[in-house]
Amino acid sequence: MAAATTPSQKIAGGSFLLETRQPCEVFTPEDFNEQHQMILQTADEFAAQEILPNADKIEHKDFSVSRELIRKAAELGLSSVDIPEAYGGMEMDKVTSCIVADRVAVYAGFATSWGAHTGIGTLPLVFFGTEAQKQQYLPRIANGELTTAYALSESSSGSDAMNCRARAELSADGRHWILNGEKMWITNGGFADLFTVFAKVDGEQFSAFLVERSFPGFSTGAEEHKLGIRGSSTTPVILNDCKVPKENLLGEIGKGHVIAFNILNIGRYKLGAACVGGARIATKQAIEYAKQRKAFGKPISDFGLIREKLANMAIGIYAGESIVYRTVGMLDAALSNIDKSAPDAARQICKGIEEYAVECSILKVWGSEMIDYVADEMVQIFGGYGFVEEYPAERAYRDARINRIFEGTNEINRLIITGFLLKRAMSGQLPLLPAIKKLMDEVMAGPSFGDADESAFAAERSMVTAAKKLTLFAAGSASQKYMQAMPDQQELMGAIADMVIESYAMESCLLRAEKLAASKTDAAAKLPVAMTQVYLAEAMEKVESRARKVIAAVAEGDMMRTQMAILRRLGKHEPIDTIPLRQMIAQRVIEVGKYGV
């Protein structure tokens, strides 16, 4: 990996909307170094040789198998990528962490247990634990002896998690916290040994505790009967005068929200990576099936409408990889300046990640919707066989659905995306307002007729610029009208979030394609370039429709007509014929039998 081709500078979170990036500034899967490649291979082999052959047993809730796999993965080091070396972990970069999350996702039932254990279950301790707490638990988590879980949600507070009812009181002798309450839908509830439990001290101060299954007063309820990810354990956690040693308070009293939000942030980018991994295997199975299923005397992979689906699925993976690895590449660049031996290193890392809250939410929302689309089309390609349990599509379809619900529902994440950007704009942390003003001035000045840019990717670049301008224009118009009351306009917040998401995805696809085109032969770059062109065309339509929705809502009469005209001008681009591009993409993936760039 040449230093000049990967990001080394810290890039401000959310700044993608305002700044133009060069291909050399983004990290892509093509930038994986030798070590990344080897870890990817180990994870792939582990998935093929250990996870997939055990999927049936795990699906039938034999959780001893899941535990055994977690232990085996720990032996290889796969489970402790995010745990510091000082506590027996591998302490590797976030790119590695995403590579592993992506490749383990071949079977969602296990990937969910795995994700909860290595992610939200373990990381609160890594980032917020005291030295003694880390010494006590982390080495045994790193070697797979202990498995972990994260207990935040309750039956009456999921999205609204700060509003929980679980309480903690100090015992009369001051040596224990006494926890009471009930947590709901806790992944790994059935078998985890260590839980990060959130409860309010004296019913007021939201805080976190490290609770062992063996503590008196701790129990878990019956397994939920779920739509999907049946191979994961989901149970209530019941705290009945549960006695937790005083030292097991995690972080500070009343600061539980800092832990909850930061950990969810991390959970989100990893979930984005896992969605890409899930889509990768679904696409492979769909291609295999389409090649061998015959109708009207031909393999169905010969039909244009099936090829269109296969192409779209491949584009989903391409775009997913592009946003995931661009984002974690940025994270790694930002975290690389932190002195890992500093006493507050973990907090600094957490802060570094929080900087990219918008990007993390984008990965979660975009990834979960992409895998849902892919799984849905997979069922369609399998036809009647897609609807029956003997074939993989049925489970893939059910398994995909949860991703839009947990780690913050996609509604909540959309509100975070727009809300976070607006907040940064108001505080001046992100020069969003000057950018909007500049755009408005540009619009008022009328159309410019500069020299036509005829360089390679000129049309694509101008489309990405147009998407960003439309986003700023819509966000500017909406916030001008509603000012501080914007958060109450959820439909507008959601529409703007969609535009932000697509702008990021479009740009990520394009920068990756440009980087590929510069480093590979024309023939090798043809596929990613085509995938980028199709993605841009589709995403642009979405951006335009959301912009129209926002403008129609915030302006009236002549004002609206003027703004719509501006909108048309900003979004102007030549339509492209996506049919031959999709045909070519489909042909390539059918030949290879799987997605691959």
Binding site: Q35, M38, E75, S80, M90, A523, E591, V592, G596
Partner: protein, 256 residues
């Protein structure tokens, strides 16, 4: 025991292959992986080392990309690596490759050299055998098991039709290893991390050029087999048709 393992980088098994313009080899734009029997050879060497102590050294020849094979081997536990690095090594035939290896290790003292039985790309199955001859060592092929004995080693060779042969041989020796001889290990993350710091000796073409000569073997032409379909109707009574069919299957197609 000091063991050298010869490893090769080959196109990935499921990679779609396209012929080059000259029709003499495939185009380079494919993904590569470790030649499968070589992975087993490495695994066997690591197991022998774990049993008897010693050192495992890996060697390959090829362009910069082929270093990946050596890093992987180091990650799995090999102690050091030798890379004969030059694009031109790719074009060498088995005779010259063996000569280049012999030249590169002339100052080393190995007890055993393992190669894979054959490479998944050319499938010559010659490099190991020729290397033994050049070194003046004993060799045995298609090895399924290796045991250390007082006088040297005892190996199990795979013959045809489920038969095996046991051979006692002296060391040093060259063995070509059959796939499936053992169960491959994973490269662990700690192994992968440590691999970076293990020694890798680079050998330039110039250092071994005097040892090699013109290729004795050359691929004239490579082509994708043409699929064709011909229908023949056999006529006559059922008995006659059956007879003709058997005749064709036996004598023309040699299928029965």
């Amino acid at each position: 025991m000091k063991i050298l393992v010869c490893m090769k980088q080959v196109p990935q098994k499921d990679a779609p292959l396209k012929l080059n313009e000259a029709g003499t080899w495939i185009r380079e734009e494919v993904s590569y992986e470790v030649n499968e029997p070589d992975a087993y050879a490495l695994e066997e060497a690591l197991r022998q080392k774990e049993k008897h102590t010693g050192e495992v050294v890996v060697i390959t020849s090829g362009p910069a990309r082929s270093q990946q094979v050596l890093r992987e081997a180091l990650a799995k536990g090999a102690d050091r690596a030798i890379h004969l690095e030059d694009d031109a090594f790719v074009g060498l035939d088995a005779f010259n490759t063996a000569k280049a290896f012999a030249a590169a290790i002339k100052d080393e003292q190995f007890d055993l050299i393992f190669t894979g039985l054959q490479s998944d790309d050319y499938g010559f199955a010659q490099t190991g055998v020729i290397l033994a001859e050049l070194l003046g060592w004993a060799h045995a092929t298609i090895i399924m098991q290796i045991e250390k004995t007082e006088a040297g080693i005892r190996v199990k060779r795979e013959l045809e039709a489920g038969y095996f042969q046991y051979v006692d041989m002296p060391t040093p020796a060259v063995l070509t290893i059959q796939s499936g001889i053992n169960k491959l290990r994973y490269a662990t993350l700690i192994g992968i991390k440590n691999a970076k710091n293990k020694p890798m000796r680079k050998v330039a073409m110039a250092e071994v050029a005097s040892a090699i000569g013109p290729n004795l073997q050359k691929i004239e032409r490579l082509y994708v087999p043409q699929k064709s379909k011909q229908t023949q109707l056999l006529e006559g009574s059922p008995g006659e048709i059956a007879k003709k069919l058997v005749d064709k299957l036996r004598n023309e197609l040699r299928a029965i």
